[in-house]
Structure formats: structure tokens, C-alpha cells
Symmetry: C2
């Protein structure tokens, strides 16, 4: 019985596909989570993938309906309808991935030519002798300068401690890593040159192990940010630190331990050692950036909400307690403002939104949502307190994107169709499911445009004095409590939606743009990337634009970090972006209240007397 090797990109996962096994089945067995609402019958069209190389079965009748002939030519297929007949390489696009994986590490892939922040030179030196008893490091530097025409003048102290032992055990031959005229590390001649890119989110940390010379991602992994025990959102963590300086130390330690662990895991996966990591890039929002560096955060919490620093920083890894190569550095991308951090710069960099010629909205939806309008060569940016509702917070049956969460949902008459993460029985509803629910309820006229639940639908009931819509009933859950959307939930979602829309709208207003002027909406981040744009447009969270103007780019901040890791030119661009942005404090806009009230209605945003 023949068996093929299937490479799933961009996850870098590999699986064995048996004869007569569909790509979907192979993916599941291999730990690659591909969407499937219909269970593999070809009905839901959620399992779209692109076959990059290899031979597969011919398209089915269903697929001829789903895809254009151009798309089929490009290799687009439904995973459930496709049977490999050779080794294959498959791309799983972000919106075909189940949330559990999608939240972590994937996103758009972009290439830049490496222009490294350090250089690596091969050096062989003569052993010392009684005739020329020259110090080890001095001989190394002399040889480096003579053999490579450098003017390297110093050696990092930690590397200096390694030099005598290592040079002797390596027979006086090594790779020397030079950064700003300093020897920062010496490596065994066969060592790899790796880098680590970190997207440090309030909720999650995504880490990428990169081959510095090719720019290739060798391994990627995501985990929860352990700071979450100190508060789910930024403000509660900042308050903890203001109350106790000890908390700052503990929170930094938690994050660092997590990153050190991630890095060790990635290295294990790639057969590498953390000492081969020669540079690290960290992007995060301003609060995460400050907590990571143990910078003061008090001034972030009080008007005028300024960061301790916005400029890009290079900090010696050991000054933070990061276990990588001895003298290596951590590069921190620049921040923009107290509530618009390096992660937004990173996203603008990775998507090229910052230099868009057409009017562009670029946003990253989270507990805090950052929005940029790129128009006429200018970038205006604001930050909206969208709250945790779209992450499942403050929602009765809300939950994070984890196994059992309803992530896709359709109301069909008095039936509710849904898909859960990992396909098991439903236990709650996560962000993308919540958004779908709100849009479906609104479109089915079960709630009106003010957000009120109308009680004409068989699934609407009053429970403990509150009106609610039953997504999964007690019977459907075999006696367990029903999963519902309550009137209170709808109000929370309206506030979140209104906050985001207000951000977009005020940026448009002050630039004298209208919705129609927007040629491109780039949505980044975990939640934003896996939502149904239809749903977001339906409730008016997103502008009423043709769907093809929207791009969901996944973890663009993580991509930006990877670009900055290997490219000093990208770093220069990041600093240029941060310097060019005009930050707008939303609350200080005179239009704020009016816009916010208007944005609270469901349905397309109505421009009133302007």
C-alpha cells in the first residue's frame, strides 16, 4: 500500500497520506487543523487549500462549482475532495485553519533579502607559544581584522569567558559573530546561525525560529502569556504594577521564562541549541513592551498616556535574562504611543500598508484595537478600547478559541448550524462564532438595529429574567446547560463593535475621507483574521465595502518581527513608520460622542448631520 509525504505550509508540519485518504483526513491525523463544518461532504466549502506541488485526484463536481477555472489552475481545492497520488506540498490559508492553530503562529509570508545586524566570519588562528605568548582574544581579533579587513575592537565579556576554552577545544578555528565592531559570540565552525522572532501579545506569545541566512522559518510555536494570571487586559496588569513593584519583577520573569521555554522547544524541534540564536526581535503592544523590559508603566495609565520610550531599542539579551548566544542582542521595534505599540508598527511594515498608494485602513483587533488610515501619503493612527467581548470575555457563554468552542455559526430557520474547534461537542462560543451569531441574529431580524432581542423566534426565551437566544439547547447538550446569546451579551458586543467602528470613522472624518474612498482594509491579528468578513460588514463593524477589498493577514505582527530579525533595512523602515505616524487620541476628538452613539447601531454606519 503506497504512502505519500504531505508538507503542510506555512505550519511546517509533515504527514503521511495513505492511499485513498483525502487531504482533510491526512491533515487531521497529522495534527493540522483544517476547517470543516459539513464533516467532509463538500457542502460547506470551508476546507479550501492550495496544492503547490505534487499530483492529486482530479477536481470533483463540487469543486468545479466552488472554484473558478483560474483558481483550479492555481491548485485551489477542497481538502475533503482531494486525494494525493504523490508526495505533495500544500498551503493551508489562514481562513481554512481551525482557530486553535490559527491563533498562534501563522500569517502572511513575505520575503526580504537578509541584511543581517551582524556579520559572521570564519577565522583560524595560530596557537600561542612561548615565543609569541599573545592573549587568546587578542590573537582572535588580530586574525579577524587581518583575514577580513575589519576594525573590530572589542569582545563581549560573556564571550570572552568562553574564548580560551572554546578555541582550544575547536582547534583554534571558529565562526566569529561581529556586531558594531564587537565580537558578540564565537561559534563552532559547523554551528547554524539562527534568530528568534517573538510576537508578545497580551494573551498569547508567538515565537518563530528563523535561519538567519535564508530567512526560512524552521519552527513556530505559540503559548498563552503567563502574565494572564495578573489580569486579562493591559489595564489590570498596569494597575498591579502600580500597586506593587514586586509585580513588575514577577511579570517580567514569567514572560521571560515562557520565552526561554518556547525558544528551547523551538530549538529542540529544529535540532538546534539556544546558543545558536544570534539575535532576537520582540514586538508587542506598548504595555507588553514595557512590562517585558520592566520599564515604568504608571505614565501609560494616566493622561497624556505616554510611553517611557518609543524609539527602537537594542538591549543585550542577558540584561533581560534571555538565554540565547552569549553577547547577543534583542531588538525591540519602536512604539507609536501609549496604546499603539510596536506590534502595530510591525503589522504596517509586514503588510506594506504604510506605503499603500490607495486609501487603506489597517487594523489589528483585540482587547485593544489599533487602527491606521493611510491616505495621501499620511498615516493617522488611533487606538480603541474594544474590550474583551470578541475574545469571549464578559459574554455569558463566551470562551477563548479552544477545543469545543463554536467558531462558525449559521441560523437556518429555527435551526442553528455550527462548527466547533476540533469538532467535538460544543462547550461555549469563541470570538468568530460570537460575531457570526450577532450578524445572523441581526440579519434574521431576531434582534433589531438598536440591539434589542425580539421574542418572535422559537429559540428566543426569557431565562432568569433576561431575554436570550438559544444556540444549543439543554436537550441538544444532553441535559447540560444551554449555550445562549443573552440580551446583555448583545449589548457588550455592540460596545465592542462601536469602539472599533468609531476608531475607523474618526480617522476617516479627520482626513475628510468617506467609507467609499477606502480601497483596502487590512485586518490582522488572531481574532480579526478568522472572522467572517460578511458578518463584520453586516453589523457595521467594518465599512460596507465589496468583500474583495478586505484582506485578512493573520499574525502580521509576527511576520514583521521576522522581517526585522533578518533585515536591518526593515528595521530602518519600522523606525520611519513609527516616526511618520500621526497619533490621534480618540477621546480628545470633539466628534467622539456623536460618532460612538451612531456606531452603536447594528447595520451599516449612517452618516448623520455632519
Amino acid at each position: 500500500m503506497s504512502e505519500f509525504t504531505i508538507n503542510f505550509e506555512p505550519l511546517g508540519l509533515r504527514g503521511k497520506c495513505k492511499n485513498n485518504e483525502s487531504l482533510l483526513e491526512c491533515a487531521r491525523r497529522s495534527g493540522v487543523g483544517i476547517n470543516s463544518i459539513c464533516g467532509g461532504t463538500g457542502a460547506c466549502h470551508a476546507c479550501r487549500v492550495q496544492v503547490l506541488s505534487g499530483t492529486v485526484s482530479r477536481p470533483s463536481t463540487v469543486e468545479y462549482k466552488v472554484f473558478t477555472s483560474k483558481e483550479l489552475k492555481e491548485g485551489w481545492r477542497l481538502a475533503c475532495q482531494t486525494y494525493p497520488i504523490s508526495d505533495c506540498k500544500i498551503t493551508v490559508p489562514a481562513d481554512s485553519m481551525t482557530t486553535s492553530q490559527r491563533l498562534q503562529v501563522e500569517g502572511l509570508e513575505k520575503k526580504v533579502s537578509p541584511e543581517l545586524p551582524f556579520q559572521v566570519y570564519h577565522v583560524k588562528i595560530a596557537p600561542p607559544s612561548l615565543e609569541t605568548p599573545v592573549a587568546d582574544a587578542d590573537r582572535l581579533i588580530q586574525a579577524l581584522n587581518n583575514q577580513h579587513r575589519l576594525r573590530c575592537t572589542s569582545v563581549d565579556i560573556d564571550t570572552l569567558r568562553d574564548i580560551p576554552g572554546q578555541l582550544r577545544s575547536w582547534n583554534w578555528e571558529s565562526q566569529v559573530v561581529v556586531r558594531n565592531k564587537e565580537v558578540v559570540t564565537i561559534l563552532y565552525q559547523k554551528s547554524r546561525q539562527l534568530g528568534l522572532a517573538i510576537d508578545l501579545g497580551t494573551t498569547k506569545i508567538a515565537a518563530y525560529l528563523i535561519d538567519m541566512n535564508s530567512g526560512q522559518t524552521l519552527a513556530a510555536r505559540g503559548i498563552m502569556n503567563p502574565q494572564i494570571n495578573y489580569g486579562e487586559d493591559i489595564i489590570s496588569r498596569i494597575n498591579k504594577v502600580i500597586k506593587s513593584s514586586e509585580a513588575a519583577v514577577v511579570m517580567q520573569r514569567l514572560t521571560l521564562d515562557a520565552i526561554n521555554e518556547l525558544s528551547a522547544d523551538l530549538c529542540a524541534a529544529a535540532g538546534a541549541r539556544p546558543e545558536e540564536i544570534l539575535e532576537t526581535v520582540v514586538v508587542g503592544n506598548t504595555a507588553m513592551h514595557h512590562l517585558f523590559l520592566r520599564l515604568p508603566v504608571k505614565q501609560l495609565a494616566f493622561s497624556p498616556f505616554v510611553p517611557a520610550v518609543s524609539l527602537a531599542l537594542e538591549v543585550r539579551a542577558r540584561d533581560l535574562g534571555l538565554n540565547i548566544a552569549p553577547g547577543a542582542y534583542v531588538y525591540l521595534m519602536p512604539n507609536i504611543a501609549g496604546f499603539v505599540g510596536a506590534d502595530h508598527v510591525s503589522m504596517l511594515l509586514a503588510t506594506d500598508a504604510w506605503k499603500a498608494k490607495e486609501t487603506t485602513i489597517a487594523l489589528d483587533i483585540g482587547t485593544n484595537t489599533e487602527v491606521s488610515l493611510i491616505y495621501g501619503g499620511k498615516i493617522t493612527t488611533t487606538s480603541c478600547a474594544s474590550g474583551p467581548a470578541f475574545e469571549g470575555g464578559h459574554i455569558k457563554h463566551g470562551m477563548r478559541a479552544a477545543a469545543g468552542a463554536i467558531e462558525r455559526l449559521r441560523i437556518d430557520g429555527d435551526k442553528v448550524q455550527y462548527q466547533t474547534i476540533n469538532g467535538g461537542p460544543p462547550v461555549g462560543i469563541c470570538g468568530s462564532g460570537i460575531l457570526d451569531a450577532l450578524a445572523q441574529l441581526y440579519q434574521a431580524n431576531i434582534i433589531d438595529n438598536s440591539g434589542r432581542i425580539i421574542d418572535s423566534h422559537p429559540r428566543v426565551r426569557v431565562h432568569k429574567g433576561q431575554r436570550e437566544f438559544v444556540l444549543v439547547s439543554e436537550e441538544e447538550r444532553n441535559g447540560k446547560p444551554a449555550i445562549t446569546i443573552t440580551q446583555h451579551d448583545v449589548r457588550e458586543l455592540q460596545l465592542a463593535k462601536a469602539a472599533i467602528r468609531t476608531g475607523i470613522q474618526i480617522l476617516l472624518d479627520i482626513s475628510l475621507c468617506s467609507e467609499d474612498d477606502i480601497k483596502q482594509v487590512i485586518i490582522a491579528g488572531a481574532f480579526g483574521s478568522y472572522i467572517n468578513i460578511d458578518s463584520a460588514v453586516a453589523i457595521g463593524m467594518m465599512p460596507s465595502l465589496p468583500l474583495n477589498r478586505f484582506q485578512q493577514v493573520g499574525n502580521a505582527a509576527g511576520m514583521g518581527a521576522r522581517l526585522a530579525l533578518i533585515s536591518t533595512r526593515s528595521r530602518a523602515k519600522a523606525q520611519a513608520i513609527a516616526s511618520r505616524v500621526k497619533y490621534v487620541e480618540l477621546a480628545s476628538s470633539p466628534e467622539f460622542n456623536k460618532v460612538f452613539v451612531q456606531a452603536n447601531y447594528l447595520g451599516p454606519y449612517q452618516i448623520t448631520n455632519k
Copy 2:
């Protein structure tokens, strides 16, 4: 009753002098140790001082005999014969100081114009506002660059942590310390700018607190190097580290704690805070340098005895655990070889010996003795294992220079005259006393030139099977054991003397110089500075030259450290010196054995068949 203020230089100590009180009495009450063998009768001439300013009593008859009229005009006096009649400023030369003080911190004083390794700028910035919510550090750097036309680009991470709180509490005004385009520290506008110079000896640590702008020494202090518990000499400490890497960590910690304590003491004495120390310079021998930095030392112990590094280093103070200003650096002067360290470079720098036009020998006597010959524009340097005898080690009644140690000694017929440190009853004999004893015994023919004790003198006896010379008898000590010089002691001293003389001689030999060519002998270091040159010449440890060719310069290494602290030009010179030195490995010289045997004889060195 009138009372005058007396300033004792270079110690920086100040005393009140009562009417009819001699300078000697005032010095003693003020804690300034001035030599006095005769007890203040004007007989021993050991208490020479120079009156720099103020009015004192007219010279006594004794002083007219002791000093030339030129010397008297220059203010030279015997402290015991001089009575202040106004406030005075007095210089106490090194050889008039009692050993307990001399061992620590004094030495030649030399001035250079400060050319600091950092610049300090006064900056006032605008507070942030909602209209311009620019980050604190960014505003500081912008203001710095705009107000002072700099291109400063980064801020040290520790300083960054201080900036938000400090700028707010200082009303947005501060002194900014910039080093290599990096903000390393910010200071309150009225803070002082201080530096710390450390002479890190195997036995003692001398520390100087310096005003960086004037170069003035504000306070100086010395303590024992606590590493001494891990072995009195370098080799035993290195062996400890080779056996256990834990020992390296502990030894570094001990030294650092000691330096941090010294620095806190000096700051307390000067009314300053360690955070005002903006730069530190450390000089020491190669082993102390390596142990301080926790560099590997194994290669120092085995042929070809190379250092891990000889180049000058700049290490962030926090990387070593030194408590000074947040982002401040420690500068380590360059080493020359495994057994000739930065302290010797520092001495060559401070004495200007390195650029001597006349043939010069410069040496620093210790357990290890470093010798340089400067001749015809070339510097050749070697290192001799002189052992601990001159520090009281391996000598039956030897002791360190501490209270009760015999430090000066004269044999007068069958009497022994001596002076002890602090003037109390004798408890043993320290380096300078031991040297005097050897010379006096040889000159009185009590020992012959082979070192044998001849038993014709009434103080020579046989005790427990060994011949010895009684310096202080049981009766003279009221029944306590006698203090003696044994035959074994003489042998130890001969070995030490021979080692030093061999070093000098081999350098002369390979440069084809003779003793008479030497126009200048510069003797630095604790022991070397307080010995009687007469004694050293008498036994042949030093070349037979007129006494006026000898200079005893005290802690020249400490002086060099102070120069390098405030002067980048001095640092450049130090590197030039280290690079120019031709190091000679003594043991590899074919003449070594012959010269060493010859040098073992007491009396002037006899050149044999060359």
C-alpha cells in the same frame, strides 16, 4: 589658646594643631602616620615633611644640619622640630609615612587635563501633553540632540527604567551623561560627577574617589583583598579555580563585595552617593584582572602562560555587579602577559617611564615582581617569581605591615635599634624591616656573601638546631619568645633577592646594557616604596648606583588608574604601552641559570664570564 588647621597631603587628611604642638604630634593625633624612630628628639631624621603653605617655627639646629639651605627654602623640615603658627598645608612624602598607611593608597601625584570618556549635558524638556504625547525618553533625546547638536541614538536599559520617574520628580530638568552616543545615566541637576579608581592587588585593594571634572582625589581607602582566604599568592588562587569553577564565582563575588563596600565608604566620606560614580577604572595583575572578570585562568597556569585577553576592556558595571551609576562602565587597562598585568602598564603610564629618554629600570616588587627596561625607545619587560619573603611570608617572625611590625632596623654593635608600625611593642618583622635586617647583618659581617650566619656575634645563637640572629630577645620582650632572623630566613630572602636581580640582569643582558648605563631606577608598589634603598643596594638586590638615581613612587599603579579614569588620552597611551612592550619569558633565557646562581650571592652583582 589658638588652634590651627593642618592639611596633610596627599592623604587628604586634616587635623587641628594646638599651640606649642609639633607637626609630628598633630599628625599622630590626626591619624597621619609619620615615621619616627628616635621618638621625636630630632635624632633619626625619619619624619621629613614639606611645608607647602602657612607659617611655622624657624628651623632648629638639627634641621640646619639635616637639610641644605635649598631644601629649607623649599619648606623641607623635620615634623618633630616644626611648630605651626598658622593654618598650614603639609606634604608627607611616601618614605616618611608609617607602613600601615603607606601600604594603602598614597603615591606620586600627577595631573592631567580631564578628557572624559563621557560628556555631561544639562537638558530641560517640555512635559508631555495630549497634543504631543511623545515618549519620555524620545523627548529627552530630541532635546539633547537639538540643544547640544548631538546625534545620540540610544539609552541604556537601566537608565531607561529611571527616566519616567526621575524626569517627573526633577521637573523635567536633568544632567544627561552620554557615552559613545548612548545615554548611560541621568543625574539630578546638582549631582556631582565622580569616578572610582581601583588598584586591585593580590593582597590589597586601594580605591580612590575622584571628582571627574577636577581630577581631584576626594577620598582614598585601602583594604585587604578578601580573596586572600583562597590563597595568599596568585598560583594557589588559580589552582583553586582550576579545581572548582564554584571558586571562581565566589572569588569574584568577594572582590566585588569588597569594592562595593569600599566605594560606599568613600562616598560616605565625601558626602556622595555611589550612583554619582559615572566611571570606574580597575588595574591589577593579570590574574587579579581575570578573577575580577571571571575569565578563565587555566591557560595562565600552563605554558605558554597566555592571558584570555590583554586588550583594554570596557565592561558595563552591572555585568560585573558593581554598584555605580546605572549604565556606567568599568574600564580595564590592558595586560601585557600572563604574569605582567595592567598594574604594570599603569605604573609605566603614571611614572612616564615608558617614554624615558634615558636608560631606565621600572619595577614593582611583590610576590611577583615585574621589571621593565626602557632603553633606546624600546621597552622589554619580564616577570620574576620573587615569592612572599619580602611580604613576611615563609619568614619565621615575618608579618604583614601591621601594628607592631618592625619596619626599620639598625644594628649598632651588639644593640639592635628598631621602629615598629604605630610605635608599640614589637610583635614581628615586616618587609622593609626584613630587608634592613639582611643588609645590616651582611654589612656587619654577621652573615657572609654566601648567606651563612657566622656565630661570632653575641646575638647569634643556635635555637632548635638552627642558627639565628636575635633582633629582640626574650628578656627584651618580657618573657615572650624572641624575634629572630634564622638561617632559613636568610636563604628565603636570598632566593627572593636573586629572583628580582635576575630579572633586572637578564633584561640588561639581552639589551646589551650594563648596570652603569642605568640612569634611573623607578621602584613602585607598597613594599618597594618604603624600603631603604641603601639596604637594597647593599645586598645586591638593586644595582650599585648612586642613590639619587632611585625613585620610590609609591602606588604608581593606583595613580595610573586615576589618570586613565579622567583621561581618554591616558587610556590611549596605556594601550600604546601594552602594545609596545616586548615581553621576555625569564625561564626561556639561556642565561637564566647562570645569572640566578650569581644573583644569589649577597653584595654587588658580579659579572662573570659573559
